[in-house]
Symmetry: C2
Subunit: 251 residues, 2 copies
Amino acid sequence: MVYQTDMLNSACTVSLQELKKNCSNCNLKDLCMPVGLKPEELERLDKLVSLRRKLLKGEHLFRTGEHFNSLFAVKTGTFKTLVNNQDGSDQVIGFQMTGELLGLDGLGTGQHMCEAIALEDSEVCTIPYSRLDELAQEFHALQMHFHRIMSREIVKDQNAMLLLGSMRAEQRLSAFLLNLTERQKARGFSSREMVLRMTREEIGSYLGMKIETVSRTFSKLQKDQLIKIDQKNLTILNHTLLQNLATGKAH
Amino acid sequence: MVYQTDMLNSACTVSLQELKKNCSNCNLKDLCMPVGLKPEELERLDKLVSLRRKLLKGEHLFRTGEHFNSLFAVKTGTFKTLVNNQDGSDQVIGFQMTGELLGLDGLGTGQHMCEAIALEDSEVCTIPYSRLDELAQEFHALQMHFHRIMSREIVKDQNAMLLLGSMRAEQRLSAFLLNLTERQKARGFSSREMVLRMTREEIGSYLGMKIETVSRTFSKLQKDQLIKIDQKNLTILNHTLLQNLATGKAH
DNA sequence: CGTGTTATTGAGTAGCATCAATAATTGTGG
DNA sequence: CCACAATTATTGATGCTACTCAATAACACG
C-alpha cells in the first residue's frame, strides 16, 4: 500500500530503484544485521531480506513450538517475547525495538522456544536462516557479525538475570527505564522522554514483580522527582539520581 | 606433567597416538563441540583443540574485562560463572559441567563480560576462536553446530530468567536440583544421587535467594521426604513430587 | 588442633504479594 | 460519535515470604 508506484511521482521522496533495496538504504543499518558489511556484501544481504511482514498490535510473529525457519529484524514498531511456563503462565523475557533481532531461540532445536507478539502495529524483515547461513559461509564479516549478535543476546540475558536475582523493586524499575531510554538514544531519539509501548503488567512480568508493585514504584519515583510518568509517557527528570538508584549507588 | 612420555611406558594406559588426538577419543564428544561431525572434520577439530589447561579449585579461567581469545570446553570438573554488579557485588549466573562451553559472552565485545572460576580441580580444552571460525567457514556442519550451541545458551538463560522472575524459593531450588541431576544423567551418571560442587551461598546467588533461605529450603524438602541432603551429598527420594513442585503442579 | 569458612536454625522484620475498591482509558457496536 | 463494556492503572489494607540479625554447629585447611 504505502509503496505503490504512483505514489513515487508525487509526495514520496524515494526512487523506485531504492525501493528494491532493503538493507542498503534502511536507516537501521547501523544497528541491525548489516553492521560493518562492504557494499558488495550488503547487496547480497538485500536479496536475502526481501520479505517484509506487517503485524497489527497484538498479533503473533511466531509461537512456542512452531518450526523455526527465519530470523526477524524489527523494521518498525515494538515486540515482546514470552516464555511459556509449564504451569500455563507466561513471562515476558524481552522487549524488542527497531533493528533488534527476533527468533534466535529457535536455532538450537529447530522450534521456537518462546513467542513474539507485536506491542503496536509493526513491521519486520524476514531473514531466512538457511540463506543467511549460506551467505555467512561466503562472507566472513557477516559470519563474525552474526556471532557477535548472538553473544550480545547472551550477555543481555545474563544482565537480566542479575536484575531479577539481586535487585529490589525500585532498582529494577530504574534499571529498566534507563535501559529503554538508552536504546531510544541509540536510535537517535531523546533519552529524556519516551512512550512506553508496554503495559504495567508486561513490565511487571519482565521485572518479576506484580502490577500493583510496578504502579506503586512508578508513583514513588515520581514523588521523588526522578521521573514524570503520565500514562505511557515517561520523562526522566533526574538521570543522575536514577542511575545511582539503578546501580545501587543510592545512599 | 601428567602426559610426560616416560609415563606412557608404565602405568598410563593410553597410547602415544591417542594422546595426540583430543576430541576424537574424548568421552564427551557426544555432548561437546564435535557433535555430529564426520571423522575428517573431527580430525581437523583435534588439531585446533590442542591446548589443555588445568585449574585448581578456586582458580580463575578468565576474568571480566579480559581480552577474549578462546572458548573453553570443560574436560573435567565444574565451574561457576559470575557477573560483576556495578555496586561491587557478584552474582552467579551459571554452573558448567563436563562438555559445556565457557566464554561465549566474550565474543560480542572482544572482552569477557563475566568471570569463570573452578569449583574443584578441573581441566579445560582451549578452543581458539579465530581458528574455530576458520574451520567453521570450511565445514558447514561445525558452523551449524556452533550456532545451535549459542542458541541453546540463550534459551538456557531465558529459562533462568523464568525461574528468577516467577518462582518461589521452594520451586526454584527444586527446579535447580532437577536440572543438575538431569545434566548428570546426560553424562551417564545417576540422576538420583550426586555431589553438589557448589556452596549454599553459590546456590543462593544463582537462585536469587540468601544462604539462610537455601539452607531452610533444603531442610524443608528433606523434611517432606523429597530429597536427602547430607552436606553436599544429594539424593532425590521422590522425583515425581519434586518435579511437581518445580513445575508448579504441586497441590 | 585451632582458625576461618560454611551451614543450620531461631526470632523479628521489611518488602512485596494478595485482596479489594475505584478510577482512567481503550475498544466496540449501535 | 457516543455509550457501554472490557481492559488497564492506581491506591489502600492486610498477610506472607524471604531477608536480616544472631547464635551455634560442623567442616576444611594449614
